[in-house]
Symmetry: C2
Subunit: 92 residues, 2 copies
DNA sequence: TCCATACATTTACAAATATCGATATGTATG
DNA sequence: CATACATATCGATATTTGTAAATGTATGGA
């Protein structure tokens, strides 16, 4: 069996900046320009991180005119939690 | 606030081979030589991965003579799960 | 239509990580 | 003590990842 896909999803969370983004999104949905002000990174770097988070399913996006609104995905969180539990549970 | 430490722990799980190791350890405690037979990697590479997993707290080790026995850490799993939940929960 | 804004993509490079062979360390055994 | 074995560490290299400048694309307003 291959664990590549799960590893890819876990990697989406395995970065300082992306953890900061996740924490920021817990408050509410936010647009990219707002996140850009909070984090000390360039616009292209933020865009890169958001792509990884969205691809992992942990973050949802909604385009509104020029703005991209990002929010935590409830379903993504549940799927992620279940996936993690499959690896770390100690009782069979 | 710094997310470096959490990112480091999540990275410990963010690798194909280490996920395979975690799954293997779910069955029972295993020694390095046994894991080496299951995985298609060199001895030095396995040692490297085990160090990362042990450092993250997810895996416990027990030295018995020449052998190193590895097992999943119950406490490590709980701490890890709680840490992850802090980032992905969608209800405040 | 022209321009500014918001964001994505491309490109290039630096930093981090995975890998393995070689070597070192520690341990049992004859 | 010499040897075999199990594992860790070191050194070198290849791959992956993070970063930002430059560029591209879509949107909305003047």
């Amino acid at each position: 069996m291959g664990y590549r896909e799960d590893a890819r999803k876990i990697k989406a969370l395995a970065d300082e900046n992306r953890l900061a983004i996740m924490m920021s999104l817990q408050q509410k949905e936010k647009c990219a320009c707002y996140l850009l002000e909070e984090l000390n990174i360039s616009q292209s770097t933020l865009s890169h991180h958001m792509k990884l988070l969205c691809d992992s399913g942990l973050v949802d996006y909604r385009k509104e005119g020029k703005w991209m609104h990002y929010s935590l995905s409830k379903e993504g969180a549940i799927a992620f939690r279940d996936m993690i539990d499959g690896y770390i549970r100690t009782d069979k």
